[in-house]
């Protein structure tokens, strides 16, 4: 049976609402990849007695206990003192820890501060874990009851020690094999219950399980498998699912919709220009979050004022007067206009009512026109998106990216 794991996160800032604990979910993810499941997370304040009590209680229930936070040289770093107290040991200067700290300071080219020595005070019988990203080493203690690890709370330092020292050690200590990483298929334009219903009759390879994740405006399918041939079965399952959902598939695995769109543009050798109104630069921002967007993105226009639509995109005054800026005709003219201005292969346009104000009976908040022009033809789709301003904008941007993907022939993995 797989060993049980508890996490203990330490810090007043986690309890007074000034900081959200993101470490626990990261640790849980990494442990899941080597087949370990976290059974409990407990968050306690910066006092020696509460931490020591927490350690004592959790040591009774779990084979592995991972502490984060309260490790370092300042006055509110009390984790080492609490471990010392919980196991009734003496604390003293640990030479290996001191060496690790000296090495880190040398690498950073800074002198060792007297208080850095505090980070080398360890309970007897414990060992330091090298911290590649910070001064304070982690701590490891093994008893008959528990394998205990204490890590700093700073996420980069925590993760560095976890990956360098703890995961490999646990894999060996408990003979764990790395699981086949889960595969993710990201869908847009379909709700979770609908996805669930449509998945049911699909024939997937044996022992592939599917979990759902919802991250607006996407539904993510997380496919998991273990054992012999897991990778092949997962490949097959991804293929079946993405063939079925076809144009709704906008990304795979850790890729974002914008990264996938950029990849498809790069593969096709096509260039793009953007004309954004209600998304106000969001589509361009998403495409340029990843490096290398200059391979395909020629330019973008954020045309809030009608004069900008007229000068830069050549939208005729007649369209603006008669149809209005939020109209199919305007979206079409914007897409064509930006493509011609940029000399790009594709022109994408967005115009709509993101809200909360500006809606009418005919074009309520959430009405959005998305246009795509490729020189041969221009397609404009009208959408009606629910939600608040932020949701309408994000849904619009992602739907526009999905439209580019479809145009480029989309879903094949």
């Amino acid at each position: 049976m797989s060993p049980s794991v508890g996490l203990l996160t330490i810090g007043d800032e986690l309890l007074n609402g000034s900081l959200t604990d993101t470490n626990s979910s990261i640790i849980a993810q990494r442990l899941a990849e080597i087949g370990l499941a976290v059974q409990e997370v407990r968050t306690l304040p910066d006092t020696i007695s509460s931490i020591a009590n927490g350690i004592r209680e959790m040591t009774k229930s779990f084979d592995i206990l991972i502490l984060t936070g309260g490790l370092g040289s300042t006055i509110d770093d009390l984790t080492v003192a609490a471990v010392t107290k919980a196991f009734s040991r003496q604390s003293r200067l640990n030479e290996s820890a001191l060496q690790l700290i000296e090495e880190f300071c040398r690498k950073r080219g800074r002198p060792m501060h007297p208080r850095d020595r505090k980070s080398a005070e360890f309970p007897e019988g414990t060992s330091p874990l090298r911290n590649p990203c910070g001064t304070a080493p982690g701590l490891y203690l093994s008893t008959d009851a528990v394998e205990l690890f204490a890590l700093p709370g700073v996420p980069t330092e925590m993760l560095a020690i976890l990956e360098e020292s703890i995961l490999p050690f646990l894999q060996q200590r408990f003979s764990l094999s790395r699981l086949e990483p889960e595969r993710i298929v990201t869908l847009i334009g379909i709700a979770e219950p609908q996805v669930e219903e449509e998945l049911t009759p699909l024939e997937l390879p044996p022992d592939v399980t599917i979990a759902f994740g919802v991250s607006y405006p996407f539904v993510q399918l997380k496919l998991r498998a273990q054992g012999d041939g897991a990778a092949t079965r997962l490949d097959q399952a991804v293929k079946t699912v993405s063939t079925y959902f076809n144009e709704k598939v906008v990304a795979f695995d850790k890729q974002t919709i914008a990264e996938r769109t950029g990849e498809l543009l790069r593969l096709s050798g096509k260039t793009l220009a953007l004309a954004e109104s209600c998304t106000g630069g969001l589509i361009a921002k998403l495409l340029t979050d990843a490096p290398g967007a200059s391979d395909f993105l020629e330019r973008g226009a954020i045309t809030y004022a009608n004069s900008a639509k007229a000068d830069w995109l050549g939208v005729k005054q007649q369209i603006l007067d008669q149809e209005g800026a939020v109209s199919s005709a305007c979206a079409e003219a914007m897409a064509v206009g930006v493509r011609i201005a940029a000399g790009s292969d594709l022109g994408l346009s967005v115009t709509g009512v993101a809200g909360p104000d500006g809606g009418t009976d005919e074009k309520p908040v959430g009405t959005v026109y998305i246009g795509l022009s490729d020189g041969c033809k221009t397609t404009v789709l009208r959408h009606q998106f629910p939600g608040n301003r932020q949701q309408v904008r994000m849904r619009t941007a992602c739907t526009a990216l999905a439209m580019i993907q479809r145009h480029l022939g989309g879903a094949q993995t």
Copy 2:
């Protein structure tokens, strides 16, 4: 003495790393505003026995226990069953709960589903709490030992019940007075240790405490005070701090830097046009996140290709050839060019190397030029920002917004 509070968050997805618990920090913040401090957060999986054990243990330690998650009508919603078990009660259909569910369905114009009745099964002696945003009501149980509340895990539903039912109840039950809300002063361009050092000699009103928050690229000062005249003392402290840090102050309280920039533009009656290269639309996106940006934002150009800088902004080929696109001369020409194209009062430009590639010895990754033109003169500042692509882009966008604020006469509250 103030009653003690424990939070119990429930859900496998919180323990397997697929979801980060954001509810706890939100609840902790709201409770802090009425003077209640959370002493422990515990996260447990979706099994009746573990939840029931958690409830029993935490009931011994805390006067108030708030549960989130596992409330609803699906098979993995086990919180009510766990409360029933922990207190050895019988569960039965609660008429008030059923009424609340019927009322919600009626409001949403949907029929009641048979399984919705499951959400009305409550342990004896408990009361439902109205859920304005979802089907499942919250649960309240009062015993000699504890005031227990169970809420759904969906953040909007959790928060709605907390605010509507729980906070007012606790204020009355424990005679708590609402604390003076903390005041926030957001700074850019200065590191936390430097802020701390410079704050020390400043004379602040008595009993005003300052906590620090770091949210890249900002340092936030959180000023708190209690008792008589707290609001006046906080006003005075905010004034002292913002007068001292002056141009580094970019926002107050819950406002974002972009909202503050928009407010200053609106107050000044000035209009703005943007020419973004390395930020790729991020500045426009930040300004248009809040509604009403059309009051001051005329247009924006995302000029990745040099041809876009030439056509739309009138940047001379000579500048692009001799100085390059990442240069002071180019930033100046972009700011002037976009201002003239838009006919706006101000033109803001950004050009730089966001990385990870594209750096040279002379202009390494993180080199950014920001230009601001107002028709009388154009100022260009060269910056060298540390960090990865995302950090460089965000720091650049926020520094550019801060430059607009300074131009408009900035920091007065």
